[in-house]
Subunit: 489 residues, 2 copies
């Protein structure tokens, strides 16, 4: 598949859209044939409709299966770029764009009303922590924030905060993209030396997916092991399943009810697009994702203190939850959570969508073998290279759309090496196979090491027992041993 | 706004009425939210009902919020009697009628689709339990049921059930009307020898009223003492506050989420009249009142068994919650709760409305002194007597609207005595003052005895501690010591 560069003719763009539309149509049919979960089908249909709309804007014609665009009747001089602005769809359930480079994040900052992570902020984090900023910051992978200067002001005045992040356990296996917020959160915990809470929204997955409650809980346990394997500070980290913790903490439920009292259906309809046909569980769920933003949801950690601010590292698609939370916070006597937003980790097939845990070839899973990793990257990673070696040597590759290069920006820590690869690939000196080999050589040991750590995670002898929360003093707060006593020994 | 003259075009009339009705509906809601004086609310409700009646006359249709009159199908020749049928408003937040005798309960049975408690059922209960039926059954105070024959069939086959009732703790003090379901539930527990769970919906009161969460919880504790003073079986009764128990029982929360997944906003809108402006807490609350209908919400009592049916004695206005519950139950693998519905306990001022905890003169409170009881009954109890003694002696009094007589049907257990009073009052032999004295002589010792038992209720030394659930074997199930270790010693 060719990529859609600015200088490509509109007709090429149309052809590419046509191919994507055909593929998406096939996908919808397959999902329906396989009797996939309703919301999975709905999402696929939604993307299909968006693609059709974009196709019509670009070509001036309706998409017809089996009839490729013969001619571009592009509407009164508007090139494809004119439509880019409204193409991106970003909410907690759908991330879609027709741009091969991915979502336009600068526009998202404007739309969401957050702040760009600029050099000034990055420099300040370096000054305050005395540590070199993580490459996710240096490379704009975490690109947007809310109230980070407030967090740093307070931190400089010896006022602590805590970290909150989470995961929706929709299946047993996680992919490398799921690691991004955890890798960054681990770094934040190390450099700021603060407590961390990690929410596993197994209740959300039960509400949204065609799964049994026991399955969602089991996925939470399995995902928890992967999260533990990331290596957070054992004395400062609390990982919990909603289905379990709601029934263990009156403080948590009280905050949920407080939030639920201060948000109307009109508001969640506006923020999340809920309709009258949605179940009341979905409608009230945002309060459950909001509640861990408030320290009083964890009296066992914060000794009942209400005044400790949270900092939430998450992918930007989760921001709607926290815009709502920030709106409610002052009305129930809590401080607004601060946020760090990341870009999305691209699927192997390209940056148009997030990875999907349901398509094994769209991602590198944390359970993949070295051989699977190699094959997937070689076979499925979308390439920015040219069709022939001769052309590639002559014109060079395009790192803006090359998925292997994008993955290197996430996982190759050495800035100089990355820059060298970028130059060599762009000039044509480096071939696609060589670029892919760099990535394979990084991901194989990284995932093998993760698997090794995961093996060492202890599981409780008595799964139904309550966690033994051994308290340890920390920075005027107390922290607890993590969720269910599972930890690396 | 002009008024609706006879000669205005019928369609204009209908639209104007529709708008006035909508405005008046809003006004009633505002008055309730603002806790306006009871008579102010009553007047507003009265006007609302009158407008509805007129609306129906003009349009031939029932008024429906959000559905303006499309077409006028009026109506010439229809008298007002045609509309009386739908005057009664009965839902968990409003009970209103323009009939001095109170709600038409036979019509309610038809509207709600429940079954009348007939002599056959009463006789069967007597046969099965070997006990004389409670006077609430004999006198039609509990008048409607769902699936009681199923409960009795199972009971005769040695299959047990449990009782579930509740209270919304909207203030510190309860009135005698609040005792009705508890008195009947106590009788049921005694004659069937079954476990009982009592839910205090402090979360509901927080969501609906302008109260702090701590106040609602405190009301729950205070109301709990009154409930305990009713004298339930200490080894078979579990009383809980939602705000507390939700955070103590993963089994309870799991059922809440299961119910929330299977009820849409459209459904709760239809059942409870919620709107888009309601907070998401109200919208999802019905699942919380539904959850105790399922035995798996109490694994500590029922050893995790899912198959024990519940029987819910409650006032008929709570039925919408349980219609919803019965609809959901089979879809989540539970049996439908059975129900016993009671009529409403009338306010001192008359049977048009329920008593109000916010108007001290509308009710006899459980905290009232003997003197207050006497004064309230003599001064405020609506009389069915005639204006002068002469007229009364000549024409007799009307027991159908006399509130003191109604109260006697609740609290005077002796059937013969009650019948004698009815005859004597109707004939004029008994004067209003004499009738009132019968009631005073019954209520004064009844309430004094309640106060004495309430004083003996123990309160925990450490209110924040979890209840010490001492298990005791019961009928193949296990039961627990009640809520917070509070009990009569």
């Amino acid at each position: 598949m060719t990529d859609c560069n600015k200088d490509c003719a509109a007709s090429e763009c149309a052809m590419e859209l046509y191919e994507r539309l055909t593929a998406q149509g096939d996908r919808v049919r397959t999902l329906k044939t396989d009797k996939a979960a309703k919301n999975e089908i709905d999402e696929a249909v939604k993307l299909l409709l968006q693609l059709k709309e974009t196709y019509k804007k670009v070509t001036g014609q309706d998409y017809k299966s089996g009839s490729p665009p013969s001619e571009v009747t592009s509407t009164s001089g508007n090139g494809p770029t004119a439509t880019t602005e409204d193409d991106d769809v970003v909410d907690p359930w759908t991330v879609a764009t027709s741009n091969a480079k991915g979502i336009d994040y600068d526009k998202l900052i404007v739309r969401f009303g957050s702040s760009k992570i600029d050099q000034e902020l990055i420099d300040r984090i370096e000054r305050v922590t005395g540590q070199r900023p993580h490459h996710f910051l240096r490379r704009g992978i975490f690109f947007s924030h809310r109230d980070m200067h407030q967090i740093l002001d307070a931190y400089e005045n010896k006022k602590s905060f805590y970290l909150y992040t989470g995961r929706g356990p929709s299946s047993e296996s996680m992919h490398v993209g799921h690691l991004i917020p955890f890798i960054f959160t681990k770094w934040l915990q190390e450099v700021f030396d603060v407590p961390l809470v990690i929410q596993l929204t197994d209740d959300e997955k039960y509400l949204w997916k065609d799964l049994k409650i026991e399955e969602c809980y089991r996925f939470a346990i399995e995902n928890c092991k992967d999260i533990i394997a990331c290596g957070f500070d054992v004395n400062k980290t609390f990982i919990f399943s909603d289905l379990e913790y709601m029934g263990e903490s009156p403080g948590f439920y009280k905050n949920v009810v407080k939030i639920q009292k201060h948000v109307t259906f009109n508001q969640v309809k506006g923020i999340f697009g809920f309709t009258d046909s949605d179940c009341i569980g979905k409608i009230s769920f945002p309060a459950i994702q909001a509640a861990p933003s408030f320290s009083s949801s964890f009296p066992q950690i914060f000794n009942g203190r209400k005044d400790i601010q949270s900092l939430i590292p998450c992918a930007i698609d989760q921001d709607p939850y926290f815009r709502m939370t920030r709106d409610v916070a002052p009305r129930i006597g809590h401080s607004k959570p601060a946020l760090f937003h990341s870009t999305f980790f691209p699927a192997l097939q390209g940056a148009q969508t997030k990875m999907s845990a349901s398509d094994p070839n769209s991602s590198i899973f944390l359970t993949d073998t070295a051989k699977q990793i190699k094959n997937k990257i070689n076979k499925h990673a979308f390439s920015g290279g040219k069709d022939t070696i001769e052309e590639h040597r002559k014109f060079g590759g395009n790192t803006d759309v090359d998925v292997s290069f994008m993955y290197l920006t996430f996982f190759l820590e050495d800035d100089e090496k990355l820059e060298q690869i970028r130059k060599d690939y762009s000039s044509g000196a480096l071939l696609t196979g060589e670029l892919k080999k760099y990535l394979i050589d990084i991901l194989q040991p990284l995932i093998a090491a993760h698997q090794e750590r995961r093996k060492q995670v202890l599981t409780c002898a008595a799964p139904a027992a309550k966690p033994d929360r051994k308290k340890s003093s920390f920075d005027g707060l107390t922290s607890v041993l993590p969720y269910r006593n599972c930890w690396i020994h």
